[in-house]
């Protein structure tokens, strides 16, 4: 496969054609903040945390869905980028209801960790405080829409790793919701195989195992990676 050479943060980097900027940066030891990206499944560019600057382009581009090209000059750090990332985080917090201290994911949450690492110390936007539901109808799992950031990781693992196709997105904008099947209580879903992959994939406290108390929900993403690798690289022991 053809190799492309480019510059990321003044560092010469080469990557195979078809690699994303995010992938190339990570291979080169340069980290770019992400939320909707999950190793092992395809990217959709939903959260915009991974925005980078490209020399010669006035627009900011998501590193997770932009492919490398010959001679690209990419910057992953700048005041402008930091400002945007903080703003994105603030909007995520303002959009729904996050009460970290009482949250099942407190201390193990990607959104919370990201907010700390990006220096988000307050939210400048008005909290929308929408009235949202908690769905505890499933025998093993729960979904709290108050904490969902609509990253769609759950949807993607459900369709593309498990192949159940239970999780979907309905509605648009502020009305967008993660639903099960045709928008019915999760416990009534006929397609959910209760595999728990969405639980492992969720970056926040939106999806959890039933009975979890504050700060108790820890996830093991290596399980997802294992499945993907096993499938792609034919590592099944059969």
């Amino acid at each position: 496969m053809a190799v492309r050479t480019l510059t990321i943060d003044s560092k010469q980097v080469s990557a195979e054609e078809g690699t994303t900027i995010l992938g190339a940066a990570r291979d080169a030891g340069i980290s770019i903040p992400t939320l909707c990206h999950l190793d092992g499944i395809y990217d959709v560019g939903a959260c915009r945390m991974c925005l980078v600057e490209l020399a010669g382009s006035p627009r900011l581009l998501p590193a997770c869905t932009t492919m490398v090209a010959e001679g690209m000059d990419v910057r992953t750090q700048s005041d402008r980028l930091r400002r945007y990332r903080r703003m994105i985080l603030e909007l995520l917090f303002a959009e729904r209801n996050h009460v970290c201290a009482a949250c099942v994911s407190n201390g193990h949450c990607e959104l919370q960790t990201m907010a700390y690492s990006q220096g988000m110390d307050h939210v400048r936007f008005a909290y929308q405080s929408p009235l949202l539901e908690v769905d505890l109808t499933h025998a093993s799992f729960g979904m709290d829409h108050n904490r969902c950031i609509l990253c769609t990781r759950c949807v993607r693992v459900c369709w593309h790793i498990e192949g159940a196709g239970t999780k979907n997105v309905s509605g648009r904008g502020t009305h967008a919701r993660i639903i099960s099947d045709l928008n019915q209580p999760w416990g009534m879903s006929e397609t959910c195989s209760a595999c728990g992959k969405c639980i492992q994939a969720c970056p926040t406290g939106a999806l959890f195992r039933r009975g979890m108390t504050a700060g108790e929900m820890e996830r093991d993403r290596t399980r997802l990676e294992f499945l993907v690798n096993a499938r792609e690289k034919k590592q099944w022991n059969v």
């Binding site: 009460v99 407190n106 908690v134 505890l136 039933r210 979890m212 108390t213 504050a214």
Partner: protein
């Protein structure tokens, strides 16, 4: 012209309070109110949440006694799961509650209350506080600080740094006690005992010269409520409810906390945002009851530990029936510190504390559950209703400060009657009214936690019921 004197805020009580003293045409005190501005949204805020998040959620909402909410909430959860909590978990919860008694009572006595009676009621305000006391009795202040630290350390050993917001959970607790943790607790005990005994001696020596305070700082008949054990002994977690009147007769005994509503009504006070619970069979007026250290010492048959039982005997010499002076909450608090330490010491011998069977698992088996625990300030009820999936549909919290609200009003009125002569308020009275409230160690921010600021209206009402003046803050 009837007048109102408003004292605000009561210093040194965590949170804010407002006191209204009603004078008649002759400038005589007719009535007084201690308004607790409760933000009522809190109970609503819990509705729709998973049952399992309630201990963490309620503990975080009350910054003053999070441990008490944690434990009462977990107990309500136990009831809904309908499980038998593993014995070790129950013991560890009790251990934490005892530590909470020690640390909270130490704060109330040494930091908040002792400056008043040690520095003198009329000492200037900048002296009449813990810093003033530090100047004259540094050893006492330090001992108090260390005692509080001991209680906090036990809590930390069990619940982790920063008190894990959800150490106690429906069905049990999340982590146990290590042998190293036990040794740390053991090491701190001798000094803690010493301080408890020192404070008791100090208070009893002073009591002779505090007769006036004992007589007028909220001395009146009322009912008393507290948990008791199966033999009527002092109880703080688990156990059943007992109501006693001021003659010392038991009105209700061994009441299952699940049925508290049969005996406790909740009146909504127009002058306060706090609900005022009362003993139902006697109605809102006659049914006024007190909770907390004084009440617990009145209702119990014995403390159940040797040193504290000797102290209880002496304490009871204050009266033939129940001890009715609210000023003696302080004394009761010190005896409770002592019994808590004795109980902690005894518990440390129990090998079961180190068991790793700490959590019973179950789904939702009942749609309602009441969790009761004795918070340092008094009996705390968490009453939850859930749907079949465990989503909370209704929450009722009955907190100590609410239950003592009517008695606090009475206390303020009694003190004011002795000091207010005419339209002017002597500085001496302000301090004493403040202290009258401090007897009860109210947990204001618990009942007033402001998610947003509650607009406030202050009304002047004359003897004929007309509004004479109105001041509002929006």
């Amino acid at each position: 012209m009837a007048q109102r004197i408003v004292i605000d805020p009561v210093t040194r009580i965590e949170g804010h309070a407002k006191i209204t003293i009603q004078l008649d045409d002759d400038g005589q005190v007719t009535d007084a109110q201690f308004h607790v501005v409760e933000f009522r949204g809190f109970e609503r805020f819990c509705e729709g949440r998973p049952l399992w998040e309630m201990p963490g959620l309620t503990a975080r909402t009350c910054g003053i006694c999070p441990v008490s909410h944690l434990l009462a909430s977990a107990r309500a959860g136990d009831e809904i799961l309908a499980v038998q909590v593993p014995p070790a978990a129950d013991k560890l919860r009790r251990l934490m509650n005892l530590a909470q008694m020690v640390q909270s009572h130490a704060l109330s006595f040494f930091h908040l209350s002792a400056p008043d009676f040690l520095m003198g009621w009329d000492a200037p305000v900048e002296k009449r506080n813990v810093f003033g006391l530090l100047g004259t009795r540094p050893e006492l202040v330090r001992a108090g600080v260390r005692l509080r630290q001991f209680g906090q350390e036990v809590i930390e050993i069990l619940g982790g740094k920063k008190v894990h917001p959800s150490w106690a959970v429906p069905g049990g607790v999340r982590s146990g006690l290590t042998l190293a943790g036990r040794e740390r607790i053991r090491t701190g005990l001798p000094e803690a005992f010493q301080t408890a005994r020192l404070a008791l001696r100090l208070f009893k020596d002073l009591a002779g010269s505090l007769n006036r305070e004992i007589q007028i700082f909220g001395n009146f008949p009322s009912l008393f409520l507290g948990l008791v054990g199966p033999d009527g002994e002092w109880e703080h977690h688990g156990g059943r409810l007992r109501f006693m009147d001021s003659s010392g007769s038991i009105l209700v005994d061994q009441l299952d906390p699940q049925n508290y509503r049969e005996y406790i009504g909740e009146a909504v006070q127009s002058s306060s945002y706090l609900k005022s619970p009362y003993f139902k069979p006697l109605g809102p007026e006659e049914g006024m009851y007190r909770v907390g250290p004084l009440a617990r010492l009145n209702v119990c048959k014995s403390m159940g530990t040797p040193e504290a039982d000797v102290e209880l005997k002496e304490f009871r010499k204050h009266s033939n029936g129940a001890v009715t002076s609210s000023f003696l909450y302080h004394h009761a608090r010190l005896i409770e510190i002592l019994t808590s330490l004795e109980r902690i010491e005894r518990m440390l011998e129990d090998p079961e504390l180190h068991s790793d069977h700490l959590r019973a698992d179950a789904g939702v088996n009942r749609l309602r559950g009441v969790g009761v625990s004795e918070a340092p300030r008094g009996t705390l009820f968490h009453d939850y209703e859930v749907d079949r999936d465990g989503v909370v549909t209704k929450v009722n919290l009955v907190i100590a400060t609410g239950q003592n609200n009517l008695a606090m009003n009475r206390t303020v009125a009694q003190i004011a009657k002795h000091y207010v002569k005419g339209p002017h308020v002597p500085e001496a009275m302000l301090n004493r009214v403040e202290h009258g409230i401090r007897n009860f160690d109210p947990c204001l921010s618990c009942s007033t936690h402001a998610l947003g600021q509650m607009p406030l209206v202050i009304r002047l009402v004359g003897p004929d019921g007309t509004v004479l003046d109105e001041r509002r803050r929006d």
